[in-house]
Subunit: 467 residues, 2 copies
């Protein structure tokens, strides 16, 4: 905890609400004073920096960051949404981007590189002064973001097996500043070629005699993860035991980083956010309104395009029953209601299935459990909703058969859609397709088709009673 | 990090996939061997415990937990989803629940009590042996879960101002076991009546002369939060500076707990999950399929009921144009397509607005920004989708006017729904209504109504050309 700033008692949030920090920045940029604008940006609070950058054009963002000292630029980029920071870096001259990359903290540099176009990232890596650092960044940005290699941080305190407790304590004391922002909880011990040998707890170190070799105090052959371990296995490992952090090794056992419980938690949270955006049809990473219009339109259309086809397929059922519809035009009022309501019921089942899969409460093979648990619920809710809508329809046209047709169709379609909604995510999970992305459109198409079919088919079977 | 178990190299996850741990438990319970089943449950891995409990009936869950030693029962409850743990505790005799509550770690006890029926929680609190602990739990469960009071943990290391560095170090050494699971990063210094005076960094402690009073080493008058501080202000405070943890005080300045960055992050993640479930129509906390059927049906109907009314309102527009529809029955095919597609476009805008609000990239008053940023996008995407659907409609019935009506309606309705979808979350945020919960139904109703109206109104204005 840094010493408290004296102004901490004022409420920075309230003050901020009244400002529009991007306006003066935009004015200064317009007047050609990029350096002045950059200085002003650097002095803003994190909250105001983020808000200001979200309101400036892509060009202005790049100009501002280019005019900042690399250290200040790195600080600004670190607080922005990742997609935005990546866009800015791509817009900068590669030398400037490389200078900033060198001072980014932890794994942020490789996180950014991973998201860039291959061409841009190669150009930036070529400008790095230190070829070893470039090589490390290249390797790390090659791991998927949610694997151990992508989530680890590589700054860690490690000592050779031959060191003594006294050596380690002395080094920790002398380099306290270096270790300060590493949140050191454990110290690692390595053998020849950097192969992981053991873990030292600070508490054990402090209580051990100074001249004893660390190999006597360390926990030998500790639990470790491989750089290639995927998110699912990491989540389960940290679930299983109360680890704070685990060492990450390459295939040959060389220690290359540390993965913390917090990093795994953050990845979980990012997966959930992704799920949320995917269910709503936002693809290809997060969208921000500061992004270029063409990219935003294109990404949204990528989801809407296939959807319109699916909608046409579903609606073609209506076209097959034009005669029935012409005879009982009131049915047209209930077609969208039945399909929408079943869609809502089905989406509830989808959400519960996705959640149970994420929490590990159900396995992707348990279709029977869904049939049982959603089936009964579908019968109850279908009956309630069908009775409600059927009564309204019957009373409106004073025709009990219309009520039976509409109510019956909604009831049957509700049962069908909760069953389907419950099972589709499990099925997609087994196919290794993202359930959040595909469940909605599949479900909606099916329930629309079935809803239209049920209403119109039931109606045509009692057509004489309806007209 | 606990010493690594030797079996850690085997893959527990793969092994688990082949088992159905709940089956043998259910059999033993059926045979009346609750004690044996409880022993078996206690020996399962966390992953298997969670899966097993999710598959047992509410009665079996309660019987099992009742048969466990309080310590084991606490461990099991801690790994279950909160809603499930709360249901189990409510089903237990209050004495048993109280015994378990006494050994739950950290703030878990008050988290559970907060979610219980007032009657159940009062009965359990009355059974606690230690009236002081009961009083503390009662107070803490009274805070909202996402305030500082609800998120803090109350176990912390604090010392009076009069202590010396030597005293503190000696106490930390002697009680290492007690402090072990507290993840002590800072030590707090309190004055009379427990009022917070300062914070000590362990690093400063270690380097200070032993006889000096802690008041000389501590950071005096540190940043603190009040128990009543809400989630939004906590998130912004931790955003603003790189705090690891902050002391929590009551109104009168008495130190009552510590809130960590991690607790705030977890709350953020829980808010996001809640958003996801709310957008999909799952209300009243998380639903698990192991919950009683009546509760699950009721909660889902609570969302579906109002929705059916909104659907009726929207569809009533169709009823007003029955003549037009009767004349051009093909329109019935396009009504659901236009309303569904606009709904999808609008939901994308909703998702981006909710996300930008959460990240602090937009303020709830910036309607003009939405008009600008979503308006252009709506014109582009509306034109693309309208052209596509209009062409299909025109070709199908070989009538260019049908194409113009359908395409034009989709184009206009897309513009309208992205504007509305972008603004509704901001508007609801200002009204302090949860945007995730209410945006979808409001948007869908409006876009359905407008979609139906546009198609049918445009059609009736060129009716002679369509027939």
């Amino acid at each position: 905890m840094p010493p408290p700033p004296p102004e901490s008692t004022a409420d920075p949030v309230e003050e901020l609400r009244d400002e529009r920090p991007w306006e003066s920045l935009a004015e200064m940029l317009e007047a050609g004073d990029a350096a002045g604008a950059a200085r002003e940006l650097a002095d803003l609070s994190v909250e105001a920096q983020r808000l200001a950058m979200a309101h400036l054009s892509a060009d202005s963002q790049a100009t501002l960051v280019e005019s900042l000292q690399p250290e200040d630029a790195a600080e600004v980029l670190e607080v922005l949404p990742e997609a935005q920071a990546v866009d800015i870096l791509e817009d900068l001259p590669s030398e400037t981007a490389a200078d900033i990359l060198e001072v980014l903290r932890g794994s942020t540099g490789s996180d950014f590189l991973r998201e860039m176009d291959a061409e841009d990232s190669a150009a930036i890596l070529a400008e790095l002064d230190d070829p070893e650092e470039a090589e490390e960044l290249r390797t790390r940005s090659g791991y998927e973001w949610d694997t151990a290699g992508g989530l680890m941080r590589s700054r860690l305190a490690s000592f050779p097996e031959t060191a003594t407790v006294g050596d380690v304590l002395a080094d920790l004391g002398e380099n306290a500043e270096t270790y300060a922002d590493m949140d050191v909880q454990y110290v690692y011990v390595t053998g020849t070629e950097g192969v992981l040998r053991g873990v030292l707890r600070l508490r054990d170190l402090v209580m051990a005699p100074r001249p004893s070799p660390v190999s006597r105090v360390m926990i030998a052959d500790p639990v470790r993860v491989k750089v290639s371990d995927d998110f699912e296995s990491l989540r389960q490992l940290f679930d299983e035991k109360n680890y704070i952090g685990l060492p990450v090794v390459e295939e040959d056992g060389v220690l290359v980083g540390v993965i913390t419980r917090q990093a795994v938690r953050e990845a979980t949270s990012e997966h959930q956010t992704e799920d949320f955006l995917h269910t709503q049809g936002i693809l290809g990473g997060e969208e921000l309104r500061s992004m270029p219009m063409a990219a935003r339109c294109g990404r949204r259309l990528a989801w809407l395009g296939p959807n319109i086809i699916l909608n046409l397929v579903a609606a073609s059922v209506i076209a097959m029953y034009e005669d029935t519809l012409e005879a009982v035009i009131a049915l047209a009022v209930f077609l969208p209601i039945v399909s929408d309501m079943s869609g809502c019921s089905g989406n509830q089942a989808v959400a519960v299935s996705i959640r149970e899969l994420t929490l590990g409460l159900i396995r992707p093979t348990e279709y029977l459990r869904i049939v049982w648990k959603e089936g009964i619920l579908g019968v109850v809710n279908g009956a309630v909703l069908g009775l409600l809508l059927g009564t309204i329809a019957g009373l409106w046209k004073d025709n009990v058969y219309l009520g039976l047709v509409v109510g019956g169709a909604l009831c049957l379609n509700t049962i069908l859609s909760v069953l389907l909604g419950g099972m589709v995510p499990l099925f997609l999970k087994r196919l290794k397709v993202d359930p959040a992305l595909a469940s909605g459109p599949i479900l909606t198409t099916c329930t629309d088709m079935c809803g239209f079919f049920l209403v119109l088919n039931l109606a045509s079977s009692v057509l004489s009673k309806l007209t």
